[in-house]
Symmetry: C2
Subunit: 341 residues, 2 copies
């Protein structure tokens, strides 16, 4: 018998809630047989929205949660006080083993805090990293960590490298993923105190394919598959990717509108340009997993449409079927053994 993966979708999170998360759920259960979706949120709202879809019997369950965590709320307070919010109720299902994964387009801060406080870390994991996929010239790379926990230690970065490798190999299907450490030069002696301490530790790891320091310049060209850095730097990389891309496109579009000749040209290149932009659009790859938890939590963009959420659902299935958490735990046991004399 095939395993049914139970994915909780936060019906109340994100700019396009509840319509897009619910649309994603409705489409996902039609497209694939191996899932059950648990829609969590205000019951009446969800039921009203669901009416427009033909839902196959028993494939979507509605889990009532009366409260909603808003984007601007201080995350720790929100998670602690709103016990009946879609996020807390949804994450509890994962914690209690009643679901395999939780997806939300809501407040990143609340997702990060909830992941740690409600779902909880795998024993031995010091910090759960948020690891979005970023587009490169030849595909995607996993940027780990982009979370809210700044001022990381070297031991955290080593765990990020290992979890990132397991994820890219098993969820994304990249054989022997290349792990790079973000630095300001390729030489081993370059960098700040953190990366100087991390480099030799990564070099010693036998279970990852560490290729050394990588410069930010080479990340978009696809120099490695797992981009290891602490969250402050990761956040800068993630957001600058978005910012430079957006500004360049605006400038190119405006540039092409300056005269008739290029306006005509613009019409002709538009379809090709659109394809390029799509390849450089992170949302098509699903959400960012929060790794190292007792279950899977995936953060989709605040502006996520049903397509991105459906991709995130597929990610959750792959993650669960490939038993990523078992692999992470196994890795931690090996690590512990190596430390013993």
């Amino acid at each position: 018998m095939k395993q049914i993966i139970r994915v909780v979708v936060d019906a109340m999170g994100g700019d396009n809630a509840p319509s897009q998360p619910i649309k994603a759920a409705a489409e996902a259960v039609k497209e694939r047989e191996d899932i059950e979706i648990l829609l969590v949120g205000q019951e009446e709202v969800i039921q009203r929205e669901l009416k427009q879809y033909q839902i196959p019997e028993g494939r979507i369950r509605v889990i009532p949660a009366s409260e909603v965590i808003e984007m601007g709320e201080p995350p720790v307070n929100a998670i602690r006080r709103k016990k009946d919010s879609s996020m807390v109720v949804g994450m509890k299902l994962v914690k209690q083993g009643e679901a395999d994964a939780f997806i939300s387009s809501g407040s990143t801060g609340a997702v990060l805090v909830g992941g740690q406080l409600v779902v909880g870390r795998i024993r031995g994991i010091e910090r759960p990293p948020l690891a979005p996929l970023i587009p490169t010239e030849h595909g995607v790379a996993l940027l780990i960590d982009c979370g809210a926990n700044v001022d990381a230690r070297a031991s955290h970065l080593v765990q990020f490298a290992k979890m990132g490798s397991i994820y890219m190999e098993n969820v994304m299907g990249v054989k022997n993923p290349r792990v790079g450490l973000v630095n300001i030069g390729a030489e081993e002696e370059k960098g700040n105190a953190l990366v100087k301490e991390t480099f030799p530790l990564l070099k010693k790891c036998e279970d990852i394919n560490f290729i050394g320091n990588v410069e930010a310049r080479d990340i978009p060209a696809g120099v490695c598959d797992v981009v290891v850095c602490e969250a402050f730097v990761g956040n800068v990389i993630l957001k600058l990717y978005e910012g430079v891309g957006k500004t360049m496109m605006t400038m190119i579009k405006n540039g092409m509108m300056t005269n008739t000749r290029s306006k005509v040209g613009a019409l002709l290149v538009k379809p090709a340009l659109k394809e390029t932009l799509k390849a450089f659009d992170a949302t098509q790859y699903g959400g960012a997993p929060l790794l190292g938890l007792n279950g899977l939590v995936v953060k989709t963009h605040g502006s996520a449409k049903s397509g991105e959420i459906k991709n995130a659902i597929a990610q959750c299935v792959q993650f669960t079927q490939q038993q990523i958490n078992a692999k992470i735990k196994e890795n931690l046991i090996i690590e512990k053994k190596q430390e013993e004399p």
Copy 2:
């Protein structure tokens, strides 16, 4: 009588040395009356190269230096041992007041070390930052610091903000430049230990126009004129700018070559695209000044052509005429007075 600005150009530094630095010198003295160029390097090589230009009498002096610092050399060693290198000899001229500024396309590390060890810091400046101009949607912004001194302290960042403001206002002509602190969120309480400590200090500064935290996403859109960060983050921003831009252009070009329709379109939009790319090309704005030294040191790209070096020469003239260093010193005195009870 008009002041003559004396600019030393390192004839031996960079991928295109000696031809491009010498071409820049020859063209610059033809184009403007207010400069004298001191070309430093191997005399025979420089004289041979100079023969192809008509140099107005007494406008270019050749300063012999027998050694060359190579790109791969450990910077501290290179500066200490190669006393007769073009870099050390050229910087000494600035130190001794025989020249106003020094420009090199050679090793960034050596320029940074030389600036500190040979030219020396202005008394009271804790760290000289390297501050390149980066393109934005509406012009340029000063990214300060991108140097090699990582693990900065909050007091350094405050000095960067002040020096950057003086530079943008007086050299680039930006009135009341907006100063932003790079952070992972716009809220005051966000960030790592360093930015949390720096924020209130910048808020207290009455002589700068501090607009608060800025996210990396908003830098390319031109949200501020002076982008304050420590060197590791600055380096990531600078290089990712370059990397994302390059990758996007490659993808767009390849994308346009996929079918006949878009190939024709590509021909038509090419001139407009070229203009856009030019606006997004940092080299047209000259080099990156190393601020806070007893004189001006400017680092141009390793691949700099004569155009960039000529722009850097113009920058040196503006810097000297506007008496930036006097303004920095004045600012330090005010700062000291404020600290006294």
